[in-house]
């Protein structure tokens, strides 16, 4: 069992958890993820690590409540409660080096996994430009943490309710068009957002790393459910990634594969919401 040390709300349906898992906290590096399972009937949920605190053994994660399991976690798991399974760190760490100038782009929930990467890049001596964005003001989080980790930060919102109006790919395009020398880009967020970002960086021939969140079960290379096409080759997001060369990723395939279980996800969610309304147990 893994205890929830802290839980706080970052925005509507966005929560930050600190889970006690000292072995994971000690071993994890930026870019890696964990898989957790709430209870005996639960599914295995992959989540990218935000930060680790060796002293408390805490591993920080940000969870967006988009389906039954994540909603259930938000509803029923409080500080002091425990979740059943927590395994990590999984996947390959980000390749942190002194590249020169690096842009970190975080869209929506992608801001969470981006944070440790920009911190590590900054520590490695890079000039780091951050770009973060969300659909609207209340969905944006970690602005201060990102500002502290970056040399310069651009903030956008789709509806213009905060920062400038637009998508994260807009400031990205402007910076690259301005002629500033950028050596590498990290773009993390929804598949459509990453696809838009690599569309921009491809024009300027800037190497771009993306972090893929495909459907997975074990997270250790065993099921192959998370396979993606990178440069025409099948790769497993869990063990060959989660980070890949964004210019080589087949995003349309990724998006199609992410949507395979939509009906089942909707069914599980509906069933959960109905049970919650009745105030009963889901089982």
């Amino acid at each position: 069992m893994y205890k929830i040390l802290k839980k706080r709300t970052l925005g509507p349906k966005i929560r930050e958890y600190v889970i006690e898992a000292p072995e994971v906290a000690r071993a994890a590096k930026a870019g890696q993820f964990v898989v957790l399972r709430l209870h005996e009937r639960g599914e295995r949920i992959p989540l990218t690590i935000v930060e680790c605190d060796e002293a408390s053994g805490g591993v920080t994660l940000v969870v967006q409540e988009v389906g039954k399991s994540t909603l259930e976690m938000g509803d029923r798991y409080e500080e002091g409660d425990s979740i059943l399974d927590f395994v990590g760190p999984l996947g390959l760490p980000s390749e942190i080096a002194r590249y020169g100038t690096v842009i970190g782009v975080g869209g929506g929930l992608g801001i969470a996994p981006l944070l440790p990467i920009v911190r590590a890049l900054k520590d490695a001596g890079n000039e780091v430009i951050g770009i973060i964005g969300a659909r609207s003001k209340e969905l944006l989080f970690y602005e201060e943490r990102m500002r502290a980790a970056c040399d310069e930060l651009h903030v956008v919102s789709d509806d213009g309710s905060y920062g400038r109006k637009g998508f994260v790919s807009d400031p990205l395009r402007e910076i690259l068009s301005s002629g500033r020398k950028v050596d590498r880009v990290w773009a993390i967020g929804p598949a459509v957002m990453m696809k838009a970002c690599v569309g921009v960086t491809r024009q300027f021939d800037v190497p771009t790393i993306v972090s893929l969140n495909s459907v997975m079960i074990d997270g250790t290379g065993m099921c192959g459910g998370c396979r993606v096409e990178v440069g025409g080759e099948a790769k497993f997001a869990c063990v060959d990634g989660p980070e890949f060369d964004g210019h080589k990723v087949d995003f349309d395939l990724l998006i199609a594969r992410q949507r395979f279980y939509l009906e089942e996800e909707a069914c599980a969610l509906e069933r959960y919401l109905a049970s919650r309304k009745e105030g009963g147990e889901v089982r």
């Binding site: 999984l90 099921c223 192959g224 063990v239 199609a256």
Partner: protein
């Protein structure tokens, strides 16, 4: 007068069992077991012992059964095999003990597997105490992986008085016994029972630990483990490398079976993990995993389940009983055919395009090589395809362990009689060494390695 035929084992009828996940063969009663045990000739040369990868004294345990000394029968099996309830169910007996049974030269061989299963199940119901543990040696061994190789090594080492900690990456121990082999062939309570009996003798099992990520083999040795046994199996699914393989609806057998067995997707939405089969499922491959997948598809509601295998009926590598059960349940076989393309419709599998094969000259492993017949392509309309053509070794531990030699396929190089690797204090066995094989062979390797580790720890 010897009965020519085996005492049949009662089974769930095919039309009933394809609607549930309960075990198919129902086991022997005491009287049935005794009757079957009476068929054993007790021949002096006992070829069956040779035929058993872990060398159970088969005539001796059968003699105990014959005389209704069931506890003694189990104790005899236990001397060589810590997982009899599992082996009695999943061993390919027809190519091992029963394949060389003297009686089998004229009649049906003694149903050794069924008798082994009977003894284990009888003991579970009648609470036979487990083995006694000698005094602690003060030595610590880390076992990586809790599949058949790891569990056997762990049990054998513990029985020699060593402290044993097993590291499992999934949330449940058992490896392929839990995620791979379906409930209807190996009920999970049986596996749990075997695991509980290991825990009862003091084996510590840590789940959710990915060795190579959370801790490395080198760190385990530095942290005070005196030896390490690697039994991480052949965990990575192999794909065909043909067009359309990444369409929705194309599963690796690992994923298909893991969703069903480990995550209980057949109970969705009561359990949270979903699975989809649609009307027709095509399974590619001819081994036990292919039989498990095709039979699972029927139980998940597929109206049609078809196995496509590139060789012929005789070459099917699956246990005879599995093929028999699959056919009884209505699985159809397209033999001498192989897929060339998965055809999709808006990202979703619609059909599997296959080509017919013929058998040519034998290849290096002695099996006749299948050759495609030009122009013989045909399509099977399908919603789901399951690729069950084997697995590759898991690369994580070789990648993260200094001085551990692997061969060109990525298998760890280990001495077949001792499991000794190129790295001092590190032993390996099971599929990670041999490539995908059987449960009992992995257990045999775990057992031999445990003996070698024991000798190593005693300074031998």
């Amino acid at each position: 007068m010897i009965r020519e035929k085996q005492v049949p084992m009662r089974e769930q009828p095919a039309d009933e069992r394809i609607r549930n996940f309960k075990e198919v063969p129902l086991g022997y009663t005491e009287d049935e077991a005794v009757l079957e045990a009476e068929r054993c000739l007790q021949c002096a040369n006992a070829p069956c012992i040779e035929g058993c990868p872990v060398g159970i004294d088969i005539p001796k345990f059968i003699d105990h059964v014959k005389n209704r000394r069931f506890a003694e029968a189990l104790a005899t099996i236990w001397e060589a095999n810590g997982l009899p309830a599992v082996c009695g169910r999943v061993c390919p007996q027809e190519t091992q003990c029963q394949g060389v049974c003297t009686l089998g030269r004229r009649f049906e061989p003694v149903a050794i597997g069924r008798l082994e299963r009977f003894c284990a199940d009888w003991a579970a119901e009648n609470a036979v105490p487990s083995a006694e543990i000698p005094p602690e040696t003060g030595k610590k061994v880390a076992v990586i992986g809790s599949g058949p190789a790891g569990l056997t090594a762990a049990g054998e080492l513990r029985k020699r008085g060593h402290a044993v900690t097993v590291f499992e990456l999934l949330h449940t121990p058992g490896g392929v016994l839990m995620y791979g082999i379906p409930e209807f062939r190996l009920p999970k309570r049986i596996v749990n029972r075997e695991i509980d009996s290991l825990r009862a003798i003091g084996v510590e099992i840590l789940v959710n630990r990915v060795v190579g990520r959370v801790v490395t083999v080198d760190q385990l040795l530095e942290e005070g483990y005196d030896a390490v046994f690697i039994g991480t199996g052949a965990g990575l699914p192999r794909f065909l490398g043909i067009p359309g393989e990444n369409l929705n609806g194309v599963y690796s057998a690992n994923e298909f079976l893991t969703r069903t067995n480990l995550m209980r997707a057949y109970l969705f939405p009561e359990y949270d993990t979903p699975i989809k089969v649609g009307k027709c499922t095509v399974t590619i491959g001819g081994g036990n995993v292919a039989m498990d997948s095709s039979r699972t598809a029927l139980r998940l509601g597929a109206e049609e389940s078809i196995v496509v295998y590139r060789r012929g009926e005789e070459e099917l590598p699956a246990r005879a009983e599995e093929v028999h059960h699959a056919k009884e349940e209505g699985v159809r076989f397209h033999l001498l055919a192989t897929p060339v393309e998965f055809i999709g419709d808006s990202g979703r599998l619609r059909a599997v395009r296959c080509i017919r094969m013929e058998l040519g000259e034998p290849d290096e492993d002695g099996r006749r090589r299948p050759i495609p017949i030009p122009g013989s392509e045909f399509e099977i309309e399908a919603d789901t395809a399951v690729i069950a053509i084997g697995n590759q070794p898991h690369p994580l531990i070789p990648q993260t362990t200094a001085d551990l030699e692997v061969n060109r396929w990525g298998n760890i190089v280990a001495d077949p009689t001792t499991g000794r690797t190129s790295k001092p204090g590190v032993f390996a066995g099971g599929d990670i060494v041999t490539g995908a094989a059987t449960v009992i062979e992995a257990m045999g390797a775990g057992k031999r390695a445990a003996a070698a580790i024991d000798a190593y720890l005693s300074g031998g």
